[in-house]
């Protein structure tokens, strides 16, 4: 994968402002590589880092990270062999069973994920599944509302990384469990929309094991000179395919051993 920075500082700031505008005012933009065809994944992360820096400077609280592109199908589609990551702030959190506005999103989609809350710092490179499980305080069921800011959800890896991995909202809930007490690989998961099952899978769909996705996140953070502090909240990647939602839809994510997470969408 192209890991070299090609964008100037000026370009990075310019693209960051473009992404930030699309995120905060909910409009679609063409993928960034249309204008910068040579843009690399490293450039994408530079734009994401600038976005994060700005938001934190404005007082947003970072609660953790998300891992994306974790299914084999998505990786093949994007032509990559590592996941992508994005940061999560408290502003993106929505409570379980709440009404989530769609008016401030472009074209939201929902995915079922296992979320991790850590109780010890994790650092790469070489972070393993075992280290992740040992550093996990608890896991919980979660739904990520993703919202690519790119027209028609059409993007490539540098663009989606710059767009913070399509992060938009997330909802944690259900029942917290110690990872030692359950088999995190074989959890059955069902997404229901308006009472109908629209997606069904087991948690191994995330890179074979959700904790492996968290380990990869830690290793990607290491490449960027970062670590995962204790108390982090990590969304480990979509177990089910992303399902489009609109105002009026009710969504329930049901998890074996972890209970349910529900929400409804309004204008």
């Amino acid at each position: 994968m192209s890991s070299e920075l090609t964008l100037s500082r000026e370009d990075i700031v310019r693209l960051c402002e473009r992404v930030e505008g699309a995120q905060t005012r909910a409009y679609a933009i063409p993928k960034l590589t249309d204008e910068y065809p040579a843009m690399t994944v490293a450039d994408g992360y530079a734009v994401q880092a600038e976005l994060r820096r700005r938001w934190l400077a404005r007082g947003h609280r970072q609660v953790g990270w998300k891992v994306g592109l974790t299914s084999k199908a998505k990786m093949v589609q994007m032509g990559v062999n590592v996941p992508s990551i994005g940061f999560l702030t408290s502003d993106m959190a929505r409570p379980e069973n709440s009404a989530i506005s769609t008016g401030d999103m472009v074209h939201p989609r929902v995915e079922c994920e296992v979320a991790f809350v850590t109780c010890a710092p994790l650092a790469g490179p070489g972070c393993t599944r075992e280290q992740v499980l040992a550093a996990t305080d608890y896991v919980l069921p979660a739904v990520e509302v993703i919202d690519s800011r790119f027209s028609g959800f059409k993007f490539d890896l540098p663009s989606v990384v710059a767009d913070n991995g399509s992060s938009a909202r997330f909802v944690g809930g259900g029942r917290a469990r110690r990872p030692q007490d359950i088999d995190l690989r074989t959890l059955g998961v069902v997404m229901e929309k308006n009472g109908e099952i629209v997606a069904a899978a087991a948690s191994a769909a995330v890179l074979g094991h959700p904790a492996d996705a968290v380990a990869m996140l830690v290793n990607i953070l290491a490449e960027q000179g970062e670590t995962l502090p204790a108390g982090s909240f990590v969304m480990s990647g979509g177990i089910t395919e992303a399902i489009a939602v609109k105002a009026g839809d009710c969504v329930i994510a049901r998890f074996q051993e972890l209970g349910d997470v529900s929400m409804r969408f309004v204008d």
């Binding site: 069902v190 049901r254 074996q256």
Partner: protein
């Protein structure tokens, strides 16, 4: 369809099974064939196996997932009869030389301890009548050329039954969440696909209740000791000699199967 034709098609499919070759889709030759006709052809085909010395050991439920139902244009499952000649023990390699164009599916098997006599059977009755559940592989096979099946073709062909193997792991559905149990299927050590019980008619127990009620209406018994394959939770996996598959059901355990030999197609 008259009784003579029913018998002829049943015999034709039985001959294809024994000789390991395919026949053209029945629907191409008999555009007006009904689902009832198809089940009567199935009964004839199965009767030929019983005449040759096999016994009924259970039932399989097919076409249980929404994608497969949409593909076949139907809104209910189908069923076939499991016979003694289809049974493999876990650990015993499956010889593909016995089959034509096999594909594997991972599912949950029920073994009954009480008879289930529909109509009027609910999912609660199913759990009550169940001795144990086990992870299993069904190796489906089609006697129809290139799997070009519509619902009538597969029903007539005994719901595309091939062979099956039950995992030795057993679980009690009173202590196991069979609806939310995840299913992980690996092929040759690599993740192939995943699923969950709820993808089968909302719950595998619902599929078994549907079968009990359907059999009840047809006057076909559903007895203690029978094995019921409740419907695929995985994608169809094409298999060749040397392949090894493992399916793991969350909270229950695994079933492992190895393949040898070559299928006809």
């Amino acid at each position: 369809m008259d009784a003579q034709k029913i018998q002829a098609y049943g015999d034709e499919l039985y001959a294809a099974l024994v000789e390991r070759r395919t026949v053209p889709p029945l629907l191409e030759r008999e555009p007006d064939i009904t689902l009832d006709d198809a089940y009567r052809i199935q009964l004839r085909m199965v009767q030929r196996r019983l005449d040759a010395g096999e016994t009924i050991v259970g039932k399989k439920i097919g076409v249980t997932s929404k994608p497969v139902q949409d593909f076949l244009g139907v809104y209910q499952p189908d069923f076939g009869q499991l016979t003694s000649g289809m049974v493999y023990r876990e650990g015993e390699p499956i010889d593909l030389g016995r089959l034509i164009q096999p594909k594997a599916e991972a599912e949950l098997a029920f073994v009954l301890k009480h008879d289930l006599k529909g109509p009027g059977i609910t999912a609660m009755d199913v759990i009550h009548a169940t001795d144990y559940v086990a992870p299993c592989f069904e190796i489906v096979d089609s006697r129809i050329t290139d799997w070009k099946i519509r619902i009538q073709d597969t029903v007539a062909d005994n719901a595309s039954c091939g062979v099956f193997v039950l995992g030795e792991t057993r679980g009690d559905p009173r202590r196991l969440d069979i609806t939310m149990a995840g299913m992980v299927l690996e092929k040759n050590g690599e993740l192939h696909s995943t699923g969950v019980g709820a993808a089968v008619q909302g719950s595998p127990a619902n599929a078994v209740a549907w079968l009990a009620n359907t059999l009840g209406r047809l006057g076909i018994p559903f007895r203690a000791g029978e094995i019921i394959l409740s419907g695929s939770q995985s994608a169809l996996v094409p298999v060749t000699g040397g392949d090894e598959l493992v399916c793991t059901v969350g909270g229950l355990g695994s079933c492992r199967v190895k393949f040898t030999g070559r299928s006809a197609v």
